[in-house]
């Protein structure tokens, strides 16, 4: 029950911030833009998907229109994916540092709640807030494509689960940085450093870090680091595959789940040992 109270408090905290409204506002503007821009025209050659009056693809038989629309949905979801990473992290990075501020943390810790519950409640609250935004956008997009193109494939809706899972795994890393540094700015910088620099280097380690040494131990350590972090790019590919109805690779799910668990556990250990 205490965790539910913490989730409610976190949602209230995030809903009091302009960033969450900006995120919802951007989603709304994009959805309206898509609603105005997308259309389907029928001709003797088949169905043509149009974007701002321009052909997106050559005319296809009516039965194949869903595939073309799903490709566009995958592209849109890719944009959402990047948006979640950039804006979602920015909007929620302060949840843990704010809780750990002197004068606030004392109030929480004096309640009959363990520290790991506190962390889990705040973590779940922040993930729930972003999940609501993801669902809002994808449900809106699904509705727009359904109404405008007549394509009601549920894959866009189900891909929300993959995206929420991806953010949950990434947010475990954010929570770890936040618990360790107790600073919103440092948390954002470290997360972005991982996402834009370290993550890329690790993913392309064969062409970068492997070149430093051929030592097996060194390369094993490098591989260990790669698998320690959530598999963001692989998850993004999975989301696109899911939307297009293709078979997904489940390994990144497992790796990201383990990575998220490790970082949450590490954050809980840091929090448990810390004096306030």
């Amino acid at each position: 029950m205490n965790i539910l109270v913490l989730i409610r408090l976190t949602l209230r905290e995030l809903s009091s911030k302009a960033t969450m409204y900006i995120l919802a506002g951007i989603s709304t503007v994009v959805l309206l833009g898509v609603a105005l821009a997308v259309s389907v025209t029928s001709s003797a050659d088949g169905e043509t998907l149009m974007l701002f009056g321009q052909q997106v693809s050559p005319p296809v038989p009516a039965a194949d229109l869903a595939r073309v629309v799903q490709q566009m949905q995958a592209g849109l979801a890719g944009g959402l994916f990047t948006g979640i990473i950039l804006f979602g992290v920015f909007a929620t990075a302060g949840v843990i540092p704010d809780m750990l501020e002197r004068g606030t943390v004392d109030l929480y810790l004096s309640k009959p709640i363990s520290r790991w519950q506190l962390l889990l409640g705040k973590y779940t609250g922040a993930v729930t807030a972003i999940a609501i935004n993801i669902l809002y956008f994808l449900a809106g997009a699904w509705l727009v494509f359904g109404l405008k193109c007549g394509v009601w494939e549920p894959t866009l809706l189900t891909s929300s689960l993959t995206m929420i899972f991806m953010f949950a795994a990434l947010y475990a890393l954010v929570v770890f940085f936040a618990t360790w540094t107790r600073s919103t700015a440092a948390t954002i910088i470290l997360t972005y450093l991982y996402l834009f620099i370290l993550g890329g280097i690790l993913q392309n380690r064969e062409f970068s870090l492997y070149l430093i040494s051929e030592n097996t131990i060194y390369r094993t350590i490098v591989d260990g680091f790669y698998y320690l972090f959530p598999q963001i790019s692989a998850m993004q590919e999975n989301a696109a595959k899911q939307i297009m109805g293709l078979e997904m690779d489940w390994k990144p799910f497992l790796q990201s789940f383990l990575s998220g668990s490790v970082f949450l556990l590490a954050a809980a250990v840091i929090l448990k040992r810390r004096d306030f």
Binding site: M1, L6, R102, D106, L107, K111, P112, F276
Partner: protein
């Protein structure tokens, strides 16, 4: 049953990265506070008062020693169901109203439903914040935050309440009201643990007082015990005391101050006191009262702390 008990508590803050040295915040502190008392902890800045309270609430971990609150180890979260806490410089989330603060923190303490709602009503009335209940706390003044903080500390109907500087930023009328609240809570059988640097206030409400300095417990006792100076006596008199008698009296005691308000004499034993009284009587000085000299709590506190400072 003691409401709280600690045995040989010590706390050392280790120096972090690039920070040299350690800080010994508490040194082998053992203490027991009986149920139904207002117990105050006094000490200069950095004495370890807040660290001590934070250890009792598991906000800070002790380096060694153990402590019990309401007969349970402090490490058990459920013990805090019956504990209230008002931290110094507390910060409530600014996006909540006063009522939402009490609802949220009450819920976290395990109190929910209609019982919580009616309790919040009575608490807001108690601390004089009824008309501010729907205003966001970011608009509250310091004094209003303290009043809400006190209500928050009482929202779970605790058996023991820890209050760190509860009257900080509160006006004199408000301070009197808070003192009355504390007395009423004691009368209901609750234990109040008070951290305050306002010695005059502590003196007005406390049943027992402990003095802490540099992490060491210097003295524990009732206000009367701490303010009574055993070797000093006040002698009331009428009439005048000639210079020769003053000189003779000074020779019989360790120290003497004679004024129109009375004589304050520091003596080595009861025989010296009697010798002084005999001398005064022999010179026909009319003695109207004899009693042990009492200091204010502030005087006793300063005297005790000064004794601890090496020359």
């Amino acid at each position: 049953m003691p409401a709280l008990q600690c045995e040989h508590l010590s706390k050392v803050y280790r120096g972090g990265f690039r920070k040299k040295g350690e800080v010994q915040a508490l040194q082998d502190l053992s203490l027991a506070v009986e149920t139904g008392q207002i117990f105050s902890l006094l000490g200069p800045n950095g004495a370890g008062k807040t660290t001590f309270v934070k250890i009792l609430l598991s906000i800070t971990h002790p380096t060694s020693g153990r402590a019990f609150v309401l007969d349970r180890p402090i490490t058990e979260p459920r013990v805090r169901r019956k504990v209230g806490y008002l931290p110094e410089n507390h910060r409530f989330p600014g996006y909540l109203t006063g009522q939402q603060v009490l609802t949220s923190f009450g819920s976290l303490s395990g109190v929910r439903g209609p019982a919580l709602r009616s309790h919040i009503d009575s608490l807001l009335t108690l601390v004089g914040m009824q008309e501010w209940r729907d205003v966001k706390v970011r608009k509250y003044s310091k004094g209003m935050m303290q009043r809400l903080g006190l209500a928050q500390a009482l929202v779970n109907d605790p058996a023991i309440v820890f209050l760190d500087e509860p009257t900080d930023g509160v006006d004199p009328v408000g301070r009197k009201e808070i003192r009355d609240v504390l007395r009423n809570l004691r009368n209901e059988g609750k234990t109040i643990f008070l951290n305050s640097h306002l010695l005059s206030e502590v003196e007005l409400v406390s049943d027992r007082v402990a003095i802490l300095d540099k992490g060491k417990l210097l003295k524990v006792g009732t206000v009367q015990e701490l303010t009574t100076t055993e070797e000093s006596y006040h002698i009331g008199y009428e009439g005048s005391i000639p210079e020769a008698l003053r000189t003779e009296a000074a020779a019989r005691v360790l120290d003497i101050v004679i004024s129109s308000e009375g004589i304050v004499a520091r003596v080595s034993d009861a025989a010296s006191l009697n010798a002084l009284i005999d001398l005064l009587r022999k010179h026909k000085v009319l003695i109207t009262s004899v009693g042990q000299q009492r200091n204010t709590l502030e005087e006793s506190f300063i005297s005790l702390i000064k004794r601890e400072i090496p020359e």
